[in-house]
Assembly symmetry: C2
Amino acid sequence: MDLENNRVMEEIEELSIRKRWHEIRDLLLLFEPADIAAILAELPEDRLPLVYRLLPKELAAEVFVEMDPEEQELLIQSFSDTELKEVLDELYVDDTVDLIEEMPASVVKRILRHTDPETRRSVNEILKYPEDSAGSIMTTEFVDLKRDMTVEDAIKRIRRTGVDKETINICYVTDPSRHLLGLVSIRTLLLADQDDVIEEIMETNVIAASTMEDREAVAQDLSKYDFLAMPIVDDEHRLVGIVTIDDAIDVIEEETTEDFEHMAGINPTDKPYLRAGVWETVKSRIPWLLLLMLSATFTGMVLSIFEDALAACYVLTLFIPMLMDTGGNSGNQSSVALIRSLSLGEVNFSDLPAVLWKEIRVAVTCGAVLAVCNFAKLMLIDRLLLQNSAITITVAAVICLALLCTVFCAKIVGCLMPMISDKLGLDPAVVAGPFITTIVDVLSLLIYFRFATWVLGI
Amino acid sequence: MDLENNRVMEEIEELSIRKRWHEIRDLLLLFEPADIAAILAELPEDRLPLVYRLLPKELAAEVFVEMDPEEQELLIQSFSDTELKEVLDELYVDDTVDLIEEMPASVVKRILRHTDPETRRSVNEILKYPEDSAGSIMTTEFVDLKRDMTVEDAIKRIRRTGVDKETINICYVTDPSRHLLGLVSIRTLLLADQDDVIEEIMETNVIAASTMEDREAVAQDLSKYDFLAMPIVDDEHRLVGIVTIDDAIDVIEEETTEDFEHMAGINPTDKPYLRAGVWETVKSRIPWLLLLMLSATFTGMVLSIFEDALAACYVLTLFIPMLMDTGGNSGNQSSVALIRSLSLGEVNFSDLPAVLWKEIRVAVTCGAVLAVCNFAKLMLIDRLLLQNSAITITVAAVICLALLCTVFCAKIVGCLMPMISDKLGLDPAVVAGPFITTIVDVLSLLIYFRFATWVLGI
């Protein structure tokens, strides 16, 4: 894509020097809106509005939606009032809402001044819903049918109003007070007889989400039920909007990226990697680094408590990193498996006994295998091959016993932390991700030195 | 969901004791196929086929598709030949392929014996494509139109054949040798005049994927372009199938789960967490734990090389975990940010200079902030408050200098490893995920002791 873009960019550069605007237009028309937006983003700021104006009206709006907020703002600044109104008229309500959420106040005012009253009402309605709610990502432009229409009436209605709807693939049946009665897909409509009545062919067991439901849960349900759109209803089961599958995918990808970032101790920014500035990136990373660095004070404290033990048996020091890392890795495996299962809805708090019982058995097995392998490695490589006489059988036993217990504790902590934080309404990825290493570090050192002082009597 | 399931289960239990089969059926009909599959999965093995048979034929097939392979096998074993044929007739080709891939050889033979010759040919065709290719997840049931049809002809054709197609929302226009000429959405068809010719209203700049393309790339493109289906073509640009959006979402979620697992050092299994047995889970986790445990030998070696330095200045030991963890966290932040950006296609190898330059500046800033904070903490808390006289200004300087360098190296390694492994065609999540800690551990210790021996002269 990027390489292709480079070639396209060069061609556009050349064409614009020779003022061959029509050829630029024809070249751009070969691409999808998302690709045109990517190409335009590479243009110098003063050239962007010029080239953007070459696009036909409808395509221009589609490209506009795909652009980053920076370029959208730049374009709006350069638009005349008529141009702005033209673009806004082509946007779906949910895209207008997205735009308004990203733009600075002065631009928002200008946008609202140029949207028609009905859209403005819808936009204001959607803006009222809390961030991350289903209401905040829905669109209010859907096809609604009445129960007593015939298929012929319905298709006529779709032909008349469909051009302004975000999707016509699923149509919703409502009563006069907009209560959701059922749905009918365009496929059912097309395959039915012209005289069939909607009431007879509609599906009545409709799964709908509430406006206040978490947007991620709604997106996951869309994916689980293979829906193309999810109807969104208010407290009185009145249909107020729909969430379409393309927006659901965006939500899923955004939330997944956030999970990745949380687990790595990064505060999510909504910009792509290369778009975020250095200072922005530093700000998203430094809080966790600082917090975790300072919390490592505890491991230092444990080490200073057992200073004498370490001095008496220096060889123990050599295995501290191995123990801490294996503990961290073990805990991490369990916590990641559970964070992911929780976010996919495969596991919930009521499964805690099953999860715990499973992790206990996995932990004992993994711990035992690792301990045995490590014992063999200590005896064969460190003692026999490398002639390290400090590694006696007792020392090896202490290390391996500590390893077994560390793996056990790490896996239990690793499965409990995500489950409990989810139950408490906290994001498992934030709580269990970065902290697991620090907690397991302290645990593994405590276990190690307890065994050492106890078995070796130091 | 699960709690609801429990209530439903109890009700079904009770109804089945009282042999109220009709009521069970009516109860199940209230749910979506995915939910019915989840409810049936909770039934005892001998009751499952009994309750399954209550479902109407078409719904039964939809529920069948949503079930786990274990239950699918159980059902097939209990089916008569006629029943098996009935279910198979209702399945889409891609679902039949999925089924065949999961079933043991004896069941596969029986399935193939009862599919009609045309489906069997399609199935065999799809099975030939490599795993993870677009060809392996496509379906061959799409609506194809001819360029010279009128809209009226086209709609008639859809009405006649649409019932067997996985989607009618997007129709494809092909020439007599099946080359892909364009596409037309059902929306365009409905909003057009009856007499319009397909050729005039179809979109001709069609983005298509090749059968051999990576399935994840195709799924990401579907999401990027907001398509409902992606046409899949062979080497000669003949249309051989389509990948629909619901299958694309499944691919994205599967691949994301794999990325999570790889990064945590887990070999992916395709079973949900609670479904995988203890031994299966152990097998997916133990290889990485073992490998990483043994690779920790290197950290032990570094520590034993600098044994004398540590003995001469014990206080240095206390900060080993802090240094190693901060290094690991820093590297992890960079590698996770890049692994995710690579998999979303936001970054590719040609961006390496930009990525490196960004990470260098981020690393220096983060490193400096951490070093200054740590210096302050050492002086104020450890030295003044806790009266640890071993922490001289020189010792603190060594620790903070080592910290700065460790963070710098960790971030550079953290961004280089995913970029380079992606370039080499390796999975960045596998390479950069688990190994980053071990590499940074060794680096941080080497840096620490180099500085210590150099500055402190020990």
